[in-house]
Symmetry: C3
Protein backbone atom coordinates (compact mmCIF):
# COMPACT_ATOMS: atom_id res chain seq x y z
CA UNK A 1 0.00 0.00 0.00
CA UNK A 2 1.39 3.37 -0.96
CA UNK A 3 1.73 6.14 1.59
CA UNK A 4 -0.97 8.26 -0.01
CA UNK A 5 -3.49 5.41 -0.14
CA UNK A 6 -2.68 4.71 3.44
CA UNK A 7 -3.07 8.33 4.40
CA UNK A 8 -6.35 8.60 2.57
CA UNK A 9 -7.65 5.71 4.64
CA UNK A 10 -6.09 7.09 7.78
CA UNK A 11 -7.32 10.65 7.54
CA UNK A 12 -10.03 11.43 8.17
CA UNK A 13 -11.78 8.08 7.93
CA UNK A 14 -10.30 6.15 10.83
CA UNK A 15 -11.88 7.46 13.98
CA UNK A 16 -11.78 4.14 15.73
CA UNK A 17 -8.34 2.55 15.93
CA UNK A 18 -6.05 5.52 16.43
CA UNK A 19 -7.89 6.83 19.48
CA UNK A 20 -7.87 3.34 21.00
CA UNK A 21 -4.18 2.75 20.25
CA UNK A 22 -3.38 6.15 21.74
CA UNK A 23 -5.40 5.29 24.81
CA UNK A 24 -3.44 2.04 25.24
CA UNK A 25 -0.19 3.96 24.88
CA UNK A 26 -1.29 6.57 27.45
CA UNK A 27 -2.25 3.83 29.90
CA UNK A 28 1.17 2.28 29.42
CA UNK A 29 2.94 5.60 29.97
CA UNK A 30 0.93 6.29 33.13
CA UNK A 31 1.78 2.84 34.48
CA UNK A 32 5.46 3.41 33.67
CA UNK A 33 5.49 6.78 35.46
CA UNK A 34 3.90 5.20 38.53
CA UNK A 35 6.47 2.40 38.40
CA UNK A 36 9.33 4.84 38.42
CA UNK A 37 7.74 6.69 41.36
CA UNK A 38 7.46 3.34 43.14
CA UNK A 39 11.19 2.72 42.81
CA UNK A 40 11.98 6.27 43.92
CA UNK A 41 9.69 6.01 46.92
CA UNK A 42 10.75 5.03 50.43
CA UNK A 43 7.45 5.36 52.28
CA UNK A 44 5.68 1.99 52.66
CA UNK A 45 2.19 3.47 52.74
CA UNK A 46 2.81 5.50 49.58
CA UNK A 47 4.31 2.47 47.86
CA UNK A 48 1.08 0.59 48.48
CA UNK A 49 -0.91 3.44 46.93
CA UNK A 50 1.37 3.44 43.88
CA UNK A 51 0.93 -0.31 43.50
CA UNK A 52 -2.86 0.12 43.63
CA UNK A 53 -2.69 2.93 41.06
CA UNK A 54 -0.70 0.66 38.71
CA UNK A 55 -3.31 -2.06 39.20
CA UNK A 56 -5.95 0.45 38.06
CA UNK A 57 -3.97 1.13 34.87
CA UNK A 58 -3.54 -2.57 34.26
CA UNK A 59 -7.31 -3.10 34.40
CA UNK A 60 -7.81 -0.11 32.06
CA UNK A 61 -5.23 -1.61 29.70
CA UNK A 62 -7.16 -4.89 29.57
CA UNK A 63 -10.35 -3.02 28.75
CA UNK A 64 -8.87 -0.96 25.90
CA UNK A 65 -7.19 -4.05 24.50
CA UNK A 66 -10.56 -5.78 24.58
CA UNK A 67 -12.17 -2.83 22.76
CA UNK A 68 -9.53 -2.98 20.04
CA UNK A 69 -10.08 -6.70 19.52
CA UNK A 70 -13.83 -6.15 19.35
CA UNK A 71 -13.39 -3.28 16.89
CA UNK A 72 -11.11 -5.47 14.75
CA UNK A 73 -13.75 -8.16 14.58
CA UNK A 74 -16.47 -5.69 13.73
CA UNK A 75 -14.58 -3.64 11.13
CA UNK A 76 -13.97 -4.62 7.56
CA UNK A 77 -11.51 -1.89 6.59
CA UNK A 78 -8.73 -1.12 9.06
CA UNK A 79 -6.11 1.64 8.75
CA UNK A 80 -3.44 -1.01 8.40
CA UNK A 81 -3.30 -4.83 8.44
CA UNK A 82 -5.32 -6.24 11.29
CA UNK A 83 -2.43 -8.50 12.28
CA UNK A 84 -0.28 -5.38 12.77
CA UNK A 85 -2.91 -3.61 14.87
CA UNK A 86 -3.27 -6.81 16.84
CA UNK A 87 0.48 -7.20 17.38
CA UNK A 88 0.82 -3.56 18.40
CA UNK A 89 -2.01 -3.83 20.91
CA UNK A 90 -0.76 -7.10 22.35
CA UNK A 91 2.80 -5.89 22.71
CA UNK A 92 1.75 -2.72 24.57
CA UNK A 93 -0.54 -4.78 26.77
CA UNK A 94 2.43 -7.05 27.54
CA UNK A 95 4.41 -4.01 28.70
CA UNK A 96 1.58 -2.95 31.01
CA UNK A 97 1.28 -6.49 32.38
CA UNK A 98 4.98 -6.69 33.19
CA UNK A 99 4.89 -3.26 34.86
CA UNK A 100 2.02 -4.51 36.99
CA UNK A 101 3.85 -7.72 37.87
CA UNK A 102 6.97 -5.79 38.91
CA UNK A 103 4.93 -3.55 41.20
CA UNK A 104 3.07 -6.57 42.59
CA UNK A 105 6.35 -8.28 43.47
CA UNK A 106 7.71 -5.15 45.13
CA UNK A 107 4.48 -4.95 47.12
CA UNK A 108 4.37 -8.65 48.06
CA UNK A 109 8.05 -9.14 48.78
CA UNK A 110 8.79 -5.71 50.29
CA UNK A 111 12.56 -6.16 50.07
CA UNK A 112 14.66 -4.36 52.65
CA UNK A 113 16.47 -2.23 50.12
CA UNK A 114 16.17 -1.92 46.35
CA UNK A 115 19.52 -1.93 44.51
CA UNK A 116 20.34 1.00 42.26
CA UNK A 117 19.90 -1.02 39.07
CA UNK A 118 16.14 -1.31 39.74
CA UNK A 119 15.73 2.49 39.67
CA UNK A 120 17.72 2.70 36.44
CA UNK A 121 15.70 -0.09 34.82
CA UNK A 122 12.42 1.56 35.85
CA UNK A 123 13.71 4.78 34.31
CA UNK A 124 14.53 2.96 31.05
CA UNK A 125 11.02 1.46 30.96
CA UNK A 126 9.58 4.93 31.48
CA UNK A 127 11.69 6.42 28.67
CA UNK A 128 10.85 3.52 26.35
CA UNK A 129 7.13 3.93 26.97
CA UNK A 130 7.38 7.61 25.98
CA UNK A 131 9.10 6.63 22.71
CA UNK A 132 6.30 4.18 21.97
CA UNK A 133 3.61 6.74 22.74
CA UNK A 134 5.25 9.28 20.42
CA UNK A 135 5.51 6.65 17.67
CA UNK A 136 1.83 5.85 18.02
CA UNK A 137 1.05 9.55 17.72
CA UNK A 138 3.11 9.60 14.53
CA UNK A 139 1.29 6.63 12.96
CA UNK A 140 -1.41 8.86 11.56
CA UNK A 141 1.07 10.76 9.43
CA UNK A 142 3.38 7.97 8.41
CA UNK A 143 5.74 8.97 5.59
CA UNK A 144 9.09 7.69 4.41
CA UNK A 145 10.46 11.15 5.10
CA UNK A 146 9.31 10.87 8.68
CA UNK A 147 12.72 10.53 10.29
CA UNK A 148 11.16 11.03 13.69
CA UNK A 149 9.38 7.71 13.54
CA UNK A 150 12.55 5.86 12.62
CA UNK A 151 14.37 7.64 15.44
CA UNK A 152 11.85 6.31 17.95
CA UNK A 153 12.38 2.65 17.28
CA UNK A 154 16.13 3.10 17.07
CA UNK A 155 16.05 4.76 20.48
CA UNK A 156 13.88 1.91 21.81
CA UNK A 157 16.47 -0.59 20.61
CA UNK A 158 19.26 1.44 22.20
CA UNK A 159 17.34 1.54 25.49
CA UNK A 160 17.00 -2.22 25.47
CA UNK A 161 20.73 -2.68 24.98
CA UNK A 162 21.29 -0.30 27.87
CA UNK A 163 18.80 -2.27 29.97
CA UNK A 164 20.61 -5.52 29.12
CA UNK A 165 23.92 -4.15 30.36
CA UNK A 166 22.35 -2.75 33.56
CA UNK A 167 20.57 -6.04 34.14
CA UNK A 168 23.74 -8.10 33.71
CA UNK A 169 25.76 -5.92 36.08
CA UNK A 170 22.85 -5.84 38.54
CA UNK A 171 22.47 -9.63 38.64
CA UNK A 172 26.21 -10.23 38.95
CA UNK A 173 26.52 -7.70 41.75
CA UNK A 174 23.51 -9.17 43.50
CA UNK A 175 25.03 -12.65 43.52
CA UNK A 176 28.35 -11.30 44.73
CA UNK A 177 27.14 -8.95 47.44
CA UNK A 178 23.79 -10.12 48.76
CA UNK A 179 24.44 -12.52 51.61
CA UNK A 180 20.86 -12.84 52.82
CA UNK A 181 19.27 -15.60 50.69
CA UNK A 182 15.73 -14.34 51.25
CA UNK A 183 16.67 -10.90 49.95
CA UNK A 184 18.60 -12.48 47.10
CA UNK A 185 15.53 -14.42 45.96
CA UNK A 186 13.29 -11.36 46.19
CA UNK A 187 15.62 -9.01 44.35
CA UNK A 188 16.59 -11.46 41.64
CA UNK A 189 12.94 -11.86 40.65
CA UNK A 190 12.29 -8.11 40.71
CA UNK A 191 15.36 -7.37 38.58
CA UNK A 192 14.49 -10.15 36.12
CA UNK A 193 10.94 -8.87 35.80
CA UNK A 194 12.21 -5.33 35.14
CA UNK A 195 14.48 -6.63 32.41
CA UNK A 196 11.48 -8.39 30.89
CA UNK A 197 9.76 -5.01 30.84
CA UNK A 198 12.55 -3.48 28.74
CA UNK A 199 12.31 -6.54 26.52
CA UNK A 200 8.59 -6.15 25.97
CA UNK A 201 9.11 -2.49 25.10
CA UNK A 202 11.65 -3.57 22.52
CA UNK A 203 9.10 -6.05 21.13
CA UNK A 204 6.72 -3.15 20.63
CA UNK A 205 9.53 -1.28 18.90
CA UNK A 206 9.95 -4.21 16.50
CA UNK A 207 6.25 -4.14 15.65
CA UNK A 208 6.48 -0.40 15.02
CA UNK A 209 9.46 -0.95 12.77
CA UNK A 210 7.56 -3.56 10.76
CA UNK A 211 4.67 -1.15 10.32
CA UNK A 212 7.02 1.64 9.25
CA UNK A 213 8.78 -0.57 6.70
CA UNK A 214 5.45 -1.82 5.36
CA UNK A 215 3.44 1.34 5.07
CA UNK A 216 5.63 4.43 5.07
CA UNK B 1 -26.11 -17.39 15.17
CA UNK B 2 -29.48 -17.64 16.89
CA UNK B 3 -29.99 -20.04 19.78
CA UNK B 4 -32.35 -22.26 17.84
CA UNK B 5 -30.04 -22.55 14.82
CA UNK B 6 -27.29 -23.32 17.24
CA UNK B 7 -29.36 -25.93 19.00
CA UNK B 8 -30.35 -27.51 15.74
CA UNK B 9 -26.70 -27.94 14.92
CA UNK B 10 -25.91 -29.06 18.43
CA UNK B 11 -28.64 -31.57 18.87
CA UNK B 12 -28.58 -34.19 17.68
CA UNK B 13 -26.00 -33.61 14.97
CA UNK B 14 -22.84 -33.00 16.93
CA UNK B 15 -21.70 -36.33 18.24
CA UNK B 16 -18.06 -35.47 18.00
CA UNK B 17 -17.03 -32.34 19.85
CA UNK B 18 -19.21 -32.42 22.94
CA UNK B 19 -18.12 -35.91 24.02
CA UNK B 20 -14.48 -34.90 23.51
CA UNK B 21 -14.84 -31.60 25.38
CA UNK B 22 -16.60 -33.45 28.20
CA UNK B 23 -13.79 -35.99 28.29
CA UNK B 24 -11.21 -33.20 28.59
CA UNK B 25 -13.22 -31.64 31.41
CA UNK B 26 -13.48 -34.98 33.23
CA UNK B 27 -9.75 -35.54 32.90
CA UNK B 28 -9.17 -32.09 34.36
CA UNK B 29 -11.55 -32.76 37.28
CA UNK B 30 -9.89 -36.09 38.03
CA UNK B 31 -6.45 -34.44 38.00
CA UNK B 32 -7.75 -31.70 40.32
CA UNK B 33 -9.20 -34.22 42.77
CA UNK B 34 -5.89 -36.09 42.83
CA UNK B 35 -4.05 -32.83 43.41
CA UNK B 36 -6.18 -32.02 46.41
CA UNK B 37 -5.58 -35.51 47.78
CA UNK B 38 -1.86 -34.93 47.28
CA UNK B 39 -1.94 -31.80 49.43
CA UNK B 40 -4.04 -33.54 52.08
CA UNK B 41 -1.70 -36.54 52.17
CA UNK B 42 1.18 -37.02 54.58
CA UNK B 43 2.40 -40.46 53.53
CA UNK B 44 5.39 -40.24 51.14
CA UNK B 45 4.62 -43.50 49.35
CA UNK B 46 1.03 -42.50 48.76
CA UNK B 47 2.11 -39.07 47.54
CA UNK B 48 4.23 -40.74 44.89
CA UNK B 49 1.25 -42.80 43.75
CA UNK B 50 -0.89 -39.68 43.54
CA UNK B 51 1.78 -37.95 41.47
CA UNK B 52 1.87 -40.91 39.09
CA UNK B 53 -1.92 -40.93 38.82
CA UNK B 54 -1.86 -37.22 37.91
CA UNK B 55 0.77 -37.97 35.26
CA UNK B 56 -1.62 -40.53 33.78
CA UNK B 57 -4.36 -37.89 33.55
CA UNK B 58 -1.95 -35.44 31.97
CA UNK B 59 -1.10 -37.94 29.22
CA UNK B 60 -4.83 -38.61 28.71
CA UNK B 61 -5.42 -34.86 28.49
CA UNK B 62 -2.82 -34.56 25.74
CA UNK B 63 -4.48 -37.36 23.80
CA UNK B 64 -7.99 -35.91 23.99
CA UNK B 65 -6.67 -32.49 23.06
CA UNK B 66 -4.97 -34.07 20.06
CA UNK B 67 -8.23 -35.78 19.05
CA UNK B 68 -10.10 -32.48 19.22
CA UNK B 69 -7.52 -30.77 17.00
CA UNK B 70 -7.70 -33.63 14.54
CA UNK B 71 -11.49 -33.52 14.54
CA UNK B 72 -11.39 -29.76 13.97
CA UNK B 73 -9.18 -30.23 10.94
CA UNK B 74 -11.38 -32.97 9.54
CA UNK B 75 -14.76 -31.37 10.16
CA UNK B 76 -16.35 -28.70 8.05
CA UNK B 77 -19.28 -27.80 10.29
CA UNK B 78 -18.57 -27.40 13.99
CA UNK B 79 -21.13 -26.75 16.76
CA UNK B 80 -19.54 -23.34 17.33
CA UNK B 81 -16.60 -21.38 15.91
CA UNK B 82 -13.52 -23.55 15.63
CA UNK B 83 -11.44 -20.85 17.31
CA UNK B 84 -13.72 -21.10 20.35
CA UNK B 85 -13.50 -24.89 20.49
CA UNK B 86 -9.76 -24.53 20.12
CA UNK B 87 -9.47 -21.92 22.89
CA UNK B 88 -11.65 -23.99 25.20
CA UNK B 89 -9.58 -27.12 24.62
CA UNK B 90 -6.27 -25.32 25.02
CA UNK B 91 -7.32 -23.56 28.20
CA UNK B 92 -8.47 -26.80 29.85
CA UNK B 93 -5.28 -28.49 28.73
CA UNK B 94 -3.33 -25.64 30.33
CA UNK B 95 -5.12 -26.31 33.63
CA UNK B 96 -4.19 -29.99 33.46
CA UNK B 97 -0.58 -29.12 32.61
CA UNK B 98 -0.27 -26.79 35.59
CA UNK B 99 -1.82 -29.38 37.92
CA UNK B 100 0.76 -31.86 36.67
CA UNK B 101 3.62 -29.40 37.16
CA UNK B 102 2.50 -28.65 40.72
CA UNK B 103 2.44 -32.35 41.56
CA UNK B 104 5.80 -32.86 39.87
CA UNK B 105 7.37 -30.12 41.98
CA UNK B 106 5.92 -31.52 45.18
CA UNK B 107 7.33 -34.90 44.18
CA UNK B 108 10.77 -33.60 43.16
CA UNK B 109 11.26 -31.09 45.95
CA UNK B 110 9.52 -33.03 48.75
CA UNK B 111 9.38 -30.00 51.07
CA UNK B 112 9.44 -30.68 54.80
CA UNK B 113 6.03 -29.20 55.43
CA UNK B 114 3.43 -27.70 53.11
CA UNK B 115 1.95 -24.41 54.35
CA UNK B 116 -1.81 -24.17 54.79
CA UNK B 117 -2.25 -21.90 51.77
CA UNK B 118 -1.27 -24.76 49.44
CA UNK B 119 -4.18 -26.91 50.64
CA UNK B 120 -6.58 -23.99 50.21
CA UNK B 121 -5.29 -23.24 46.71
CA UNK B 122 -5.58 -26.91 45.71
CA UNK B 123 -9.16 -26.81 47.00
CA UNK B 124 -9.91 -23.72 44.90
CA UNK B 125 -8.49 -25.42 41.80
CA UNK B 126 -10.69 -28.43 42.50
CA UNK B 127 -13.81 -26.28 42.92
CA UNK B 128 -12.99 -24.29 39.79
CA UNK B 129 -12.55 -27.44 37.73
CA UNK B 130 -16.03 -28.60 38.81
CA UNK B 131 -17.52 -25.28 37.68
CA UNK B 132 -15.85 -25.69 34.29
CA UNK B 133 -17.08 -29.24 33.91
CA UNK B 134 -20.64 -28.19 34.71
CA UNK B 135 -20.39 -25.35 32.19
CA UNK B 136 -19.22 -27.76 29.52
CA UNK B 137 -22.18 -29.99 30.31
CA UNK B 138 -24.42 -26.95 29.86
CA UNK B 139 -22.98 -25.99 26.46
CA UNK B 140 -25.33 -28.35 24.66
CA UNK B 141 -28.37 -26.46 25.89
CA UNK B 142 -27.11 -22.93 25.77
CA UNK B 143 -29.88 -20.36 26.12
CA UNK B 144 -29.95 -16.74 27.22
CA UNK B 145 -32.29 -17.82 29.98
CA UNK B 146 -29.70 -20.26 31.21
CA UNK B 147 -28.75 -18.45 34.40
CA UNK B 148 -26.83 -21.49 35.54
CA UNK B 149 -24.20 -21.04 32.85
CA UNK B 150 -23.64 -17.42 33.77
CA UNK B 151 -23.41 -18.41 37.43
CA UNK B 152 -20.56 -20.80 36.62
CA UNK B 153 -18.20 -18.26 35.11
CA UNK B 154 -19.05 -15.73 37.79
CA UNK B 155 -18.15 -18.29 40.43
CA UNK B 156 -14.92 -19.08 38.55
CA UNK B 157 -14.00 -15.39 38.63
CA UNK B 158 -14.80 -15.21 42.34
CA UNK B 159 -12.62 -18.26 42.99
CA UNK B 160 -9.72 -16.61 41.20
CA UNK B 161 -10.02 -13.51 43.33
CA UNK B 162 -10.07 -15.73 46.41
CA UNK B 163 -6.98 -17.55 45.12
CA UNK B 164 -5.20 -14.22 44.56
CA UNK B 165 -5.77 -13.17 48.15
CA UNK B 166 -4.67 -16.56 49.51
CA UNK B 167 -1.59 -16.49 47.27
CA UNK B 168 -0.59 -13.00 48.40
CA UNK B 169 -0.94 -13.82 52.09
CA UNK B 170 0.84 -17.14 51.55
CA UNK B 171 3.84 -15.58 49.82
CA UNK B 172 4.15 -12.77 52.34
CA UNK B 173 3.96 -15.19 55.24
CA UNK B 174 6.50 -17.47 53.59
CA UNK B 175 9.02 -14.67 53.22
CA UNK B 176 8.47 -13.58 56.80
CA UNK B 177 8.50 -16.94 58.52
CA UNK B 178 10.55 -19.39 56.47
CA UNK B 179 14.14 -19.15 57.64
CA UNK B 180 15.48 -22.15 55.73
CA UNK B 181 16.39 -20.85 52.24
CA UNK B 182 16.09 -24.28 50.61
CA UNK B 183 12.55 -24.67 51.91
CA UNK B 184 11.77 -21.09 50.93
CA UNK B 185 12.81 -21.76 47.33
CA UNK B 186 10.81 -24.98 47.16
CA UNK B 187 7.63 -23.59 48.66
CA UNK B 188 7.69 -20.33 46.73
CA UNK B 189 7.70 -22.24 43.45
CA UNK B 190 4.93 -24.60 44.55
CA UNK B 191 2.72 -21.72 45.73
CA UNK B 192 3.37 -19.74 42.54
CA UNK B 193 2.51 -22.75 40.40
CA UNK B 194 -0.74 -23.28 42.34
CA UNK B 195 -1.68 -19.67 41.77
CA UNK B 196 -1.02 -20.17 38.07
CA UNK B 197 -3.49 -23.05 38.22
CA UNK B 198 -6.25 -20.79 39.52
CA UNK B 199 -5.28 -18.33 36.82
CA UNK B 200 -5.59 -20.91 34.04
CA UNK B 201 -9.00 -21.92 35.38
CA UNK B 202 -10.06 -18.30 35.19
CA UNK B 203 -8.80 -18.19 31.58
CA UNK B 204 -11.11 -21.09 30.81
CA UNK B 205 -13.90 -19.15 32.49
CA UNK B 206 -13.23 -16.22 30.18
CA UNK B 207 -13.48 -18.47 27.12
CA UNK B 208 -16.76 -19.86 28.43
CA UNK B 209 -18.06 -16.33 28.95
CA UNK B 210 -17.13 -15.40 25.37
CA UNK B 211 -19.00 -18.44 24.08
CA UNK B 212 -22.05 -17.63 26.20
CA UNK B 213 -22.13 -14.01 25.02
CA UNK B 214 -21.71 -15.08 21.39
CA UNK B 215 -24.13 -17.96 21.09
CA UNK B 216 -26.71 -17.92 23.87
CA UNK C 1 -0.66 -35.04 -1.01
CA UNK C 2 0.98 -38.13 -2.38
CA UNK C 3 4.71 -38.67 -1.98
CA UNK C 4 5.40 -38.28 -5.68
CA UNK C 5 3.46 -35.01 -5.97
CA UNK C 6 5.35 -33.80 -2.98
CA UNK C 7 8.64 -34.85 -4.47
CA UNK C 8 7.82 -33.22 -7.76
CA UNK C 9 7.28 -29.96 -5.92
CA UNK C 10 10.32 -30.52 -3.78
CA UNK C 11 12.79 -31.41 -6.45
CA UNK C 12 14.03 -29.48 -8.21
CA UNK C 13 11.62 -26.59 -7.76
CA UNK C 14 12.13 -25.58 -4.17
CA UNK C 15 15.39 -23.72 -3.97
CA UNK C 16 14.23 -21.45 -1.22
CA UNK C 17 12.93 -23.20 1.87
CA UNK C 18 15.18 -26.22 2.17
CA UNK C 19 18.41 -24.23 2.13
CA UNK C 20 16.97 -21.89 4.79
CA UNK C 21 15.69 -24.72 6.98
CA UNK C 22 19.08 -26.42 6.68
CA UNK C 23 20.79 -23.19 7.64
CA UNK C 24 18.59 -22.90 10.74
CA UNK C 25 19.41 -26.49 11.66
CA UNK C 26 23.16 -25.90 11.19
CA UNK C 27 23.00 -22.80 13.37
CA UNK C 28 21.25 -24.83 16.04
CA UNK C 29 23.84 -27.61 15.84
CA UNK C 30 26.71 -25.14 16.09
CA UNK C 31 25.10 -23.50 19.14
CA UNK C 32 24.61 -26.92 20.73
CA UNK C 33 28.25 -27.91 20.13
CA UNK C 34 29.41 -24.65 21.71
CA UNK C 35 27.10 -25.26 24.66
CA UNK C 36 28.60 -28.65 25.28
CA UNK C 37 32.10 -27.17 25.09
CA UNK C 38 30.97 -24.55 27.61
CA UNK C 39 29.96 -27.23 30.10
CA UNK C 40 33.19 -29.14 29.50
CA UNK C 41 35.31 -26.03 29.96
CA UNK C 42 36.94 -24.93 33.18
CA UNK C 43 38.78 -21.81 32.03
CA UNK C 44 36.80 -18.63 32.77
CA UNK C 45 38.21 -16.65 29.85
CA UNK C 46 37.43 -19.43 27.40
CA UNK C 47 33.92 -19.78 28.83
CA UNK C 48 33.30 -16.12 28.07
CA UNK C 49 34.44 -16.66 24.48
CA UNK C 50 32.12 -19.63 24.13
CA UNK C 51 29.23 -17.58 25.48
CA UNK C 52 29.95 -14.86 22.93
CA UNK C 53 30.15 -17.42 20.12
CA UNK C 54 26.73 -18.78 21.13
CA UNK C 55 25.36 -15.25 21.10
CA UNK C 56 26.59 -14.93 17.51
CA UNK C 57 24.70 -18.10 16.55
CA UNK C 58 21.58 -16.83 18.29
CA UNK C 59 21.66 -13.63 16.23
CA UNK C 60 22.20 -15.69 13.05
CA UNK C 61 19.25 -17.88 14.05
CA UNK C 62 17.01 -14.84 14.36
CA UNK C 63 18.07 -13.67 10.92
CA UNK C 64 17.42 -16.99 9.17
CA UNK C 65 14.09 -17.30 10.93
CA UNK C 66 13.21 -13.83 9.69
CA UNK C 67 14.20 -14.81 6.14
CA UNK C 68 11.96 -17.87 6.28
CA UNK C 69 9.00 -15.80 7.46
CA UNK C 70 9.62 -13.28 4.71
CA UNK C 71 9.91 -16.05 2.11
CA UNK C 72 6.66 -17.58 3.39
CA UNK C 73 4.87 -14.28 2.94
CA UNK C 74 6.28 -13.79 -0.53
CA UNK C 75 5.78 -17.32 -1.88
CA UNK C 76 2.55 -18.76 -3.13
CA UNK C 77 3.60 -22.40 -3.48
CA UNK C 78 5.58 -23.91 -0.64
CA UNK C 79 7.09 -27.41 -0.51
CA UNK C 80 4.71 -28.26 2.32
CA UNK C 81 2.02 -26.44 4.32
CA UNK C 82 3.20 -23.02 5.40
CA UNK C 83 2.00 -23.70 8.95
CA UNK C 84 4.36 -26.70 9.06
CA UNK C 85 7.33 -24.72 7.76
CA UNK C 86 6.44 -22.04 10.27
CA UNK C 87 6.19 -24.50 13.18
CA UNK C 88 9.47 -26.15 12.19
CA UNK C 89 11.28 -22.83 12.00
CA UNK C 90 9.84 -21.57 15.28
CA UNK C 91 10.63 -24.74 17.15
CA UNK C 92 14.27 -24.77 16.01
CA UNK C 93 14.53 -21.10 16.88
CA UNK C 94 13.19 -21.92 20.35
CA UNK C 95 15.98 -24.47 20.78
CA UNK C 96 18.60 -21.89 19.83
CA UNK C 97 17.05 -19.33 22.19
CA UNK C 98 17.14 -21.73 25.12
CA UNK C 99 20.75 -22.69 24.37
CA UNK C 100 21.61 -19.00 24.41
CA UNK C 101 19.76 -18.44 27.69
CA UNK C 102 21.57 -21.35 29.33
CA UNK C 103 24.95 -19.97 28.28
CA UNK C 104 23.94 -16.50 29.41
CA UNK C 105 23.04 -17.78 32.87
CA UNK C 106 26.30 -19.69 33.17
CA UNK C 107 28.13 -16.50 32.18
CA UNK C 108 26.16 -14.21 34.50
CA UNK C 109 25.97 -16.48 37.53
CA UNK C 110 29.40 -18.14 37.17
CA UNK C 111 28.57 -20.88 39.68
CA UNK C 112 31.46 -22.35 41.65
CA UNK C 113 31.03 -25.83 40.24
CA UNK C 114 28.66 -27.27 37.68
CA UNK C 115 27.07 -30.57 38.73
CA UNK C 116 27.51 -33.58 36.47
CA UNK C 117 23.89 -33.54 35.32
CA UNK C 118 24.51 -30.27 33.45
CA UNK C 119 27.18 -31.87 31.26
CA UNK C 120 24.91 -34.82 30.53
CA UNK C 121 21.99 -32.55 29.67
CA UNK C 122 24.17 -30.44 27.37
CA UNK C 123 25.27 -33.67 25.68
CA UNK C 124 21.64 -34.72 25.18
CA UNK C 125 20.83 -31.33 23.64
CA UNK C 126 23.79 -31.75 21.30
CA UNK C 127 22.71 -35.25 20.26
CA UNK C 128 19.12 -34.11 19.78
CA UNK C 129 20.17 -31.23 17.58
CA UNK C 130 22.07 -33.65 15.33
CA UNK C 131 18.97 -35.82 14.98
CA UNK C 132 16.96 -32.77 13.98
CA UNK C 133 19.55 -31.67 11.43
CA UNK C 134 19.59 -35.14 9.86
CA UNK C 135 15.79 -35.14 9.70
CA UNK C 136 15.80 -31.78 7.95
CA UNK C 137 18.29 -33.17 5.45
CA UNK C 138 15.90 -36.06 4.86
CA UNK C 139 12.88 -33.85 4.24
CA UNK C 140 13.75 -33.47 0.58
CA UNK C 141 13.39 -37.17 -0.02
CA UNK C 142 10.47 -37.96 2.22
CA UNK C 143 9.01 -41.40 1.56
CA UNK C 144 6.95 -43.80 3.63
CA UNK C 145 9.75 -46.29 3.23
CA UNK C 146 12.16 -43.81 4.74
CA UNK C 147 12.74 -45.61 8.02
CA UNK C 148 15.60 -43.27 8.80
CA UNK C 149 13.29 -40.31 9.20
CA UNK C 150 11.06 -42.17 11.63
CA UNK C 151 14.11 -43.31 13.55
CA UNK C 152 15.17 -39.70 14.09
CA UNK C 153 12.05 -38.54 15.84
CA UNK C 154 11.88 -41.73 17.87
CA UNK C 155 15.44 -41.10 19.02
CA UNK C 156 14.53 -37.49 19.84
CA UNK C 157 11.68 -38.70 22.03
CA UNK C 158 13.98 -41.20 23.75
CA UNK C 159 16.51 -38.44 24.40
CA UNK C 160 13.85 -36.31 26.02
CA UNK C 161 12.84 -39.13 28.34
CA UNK C 162 16.50 -39.56 29.24
CA UNK C 163 16.79 -35.82 29.86
CA UNK C 164 13.71 -35.92 32.11
CA UNK C 165 15.25 -38.61 34.29
CA UNK C 166 18.61 -36.81 34.48
CA UNK C 167 16.83 -33.55 35.31
CA UNK C 168 14.79 -35.13 38.09
CA UNK C 169 17.80 -36.78 39.70
CA UNK C 170 19.83 -33.61 39.27
CA UNK C 171 17.24 -31.39 40.96
CA UNK C 172 16.68 -33.82 43.82
CA UNK C 173 20.40 -34.18 44.42
CA UNK C 174 20.86 -30.43 44.27
CA UNK C 175 18.25 -29.84 46.97
CA UNK C 176 19.75 -32.55 49.14
CA UNK C 177 23.42 -31.70 48.80
CA UNK C 178 23.80 -28.01 48.01
CA UNK C 179 24.01 -26.14 51.30
CA UNK C 180 24.97 -22.76 49.89
CA UNK C 181 21.67 -21.04 49.00
CA UNK C 182 23.27 -18.75 46.43
CA UNK C 183 24.72 -21.71 44.56
CA UNK C 184 21.44 -23.55 44.90
CA UNK C 185 19.56 -20.70 43.23
CA UNK C 186 22.09 -20.43 40.42
CA UNK C 187 22.28 -24.13 39.66
CA UNK C 188 18.55 -24.76 39.89
CA UNK C 189 17.93 -22.17 37.17
CA UNK C 190 20.68 -23.53 34.94
CA UNK C 191 19.45 -27.11 35.27
CA UNK C 192 15.84 -26.06 34.65
CA UNK C 193 16.85 -24.13 31.56
CA UNK C 194 18.79 -27.13 30.23
CA UNK C 195 15.76 -29.32 30.71
CA UNK C 196 13.73 -26.79 28.78
CA UNK C 197 16.26 -27.19 25.97
CA UNK C 198 15.63 -30.93 25.75
CA UNK C 199 11.94 -30.14 25.81
CA UNK C 200 12.17 -27.72 22.90
CA UNK C 201 14.12 -30.29 20.91
CA UNK C 202 11.33 -32.75 21.54
CA UNK C 203 8.82 -30.15 20.32
CA UNK C 204 10.76 -29.97 17.07
CA UNK C 205 10.62 -33.76 16.92
CA UNK C 206 6.84 -33.60 17.22
CA UNK C 207 6.64 -31.15 14.32
CA UNK C 208 8.84 -33.44 12.24
CA UNK C 209 6.61 -36.38 13.09
CA UNK C 210 3.52 -34.43 11.99
CA UNK C 211 5.20 -33.61 8.68
CA UNK C 212 6.22 -37.23 8.16
CA UNK C 213 2.71 -38.52 8.87
CA UNK C 214 1.17 -35.90 6.58
CA UNK C 215 3.41 -36.05 3.56
CA UNK C 216 5.40 -39.26 3.43
Amino acid sequence: MKANTLLSVFTPKDTKFFPLLKETASTMVRAAILLQELFDCSDEEQKKELYKAIKVEEVKGDKVTGSILKALNATFITPFDREDINALTDSMDDVIDVIYRVSHKVQLYSPEKLPECTTILADIIHKGSLEIRDSIDGLENLKKTNIGFRRHYKEIKRLEEEADAIYEDGIMELFHKETNPTELIKLKEIIQELEKGANKINNTGKVLKTIFVKYA
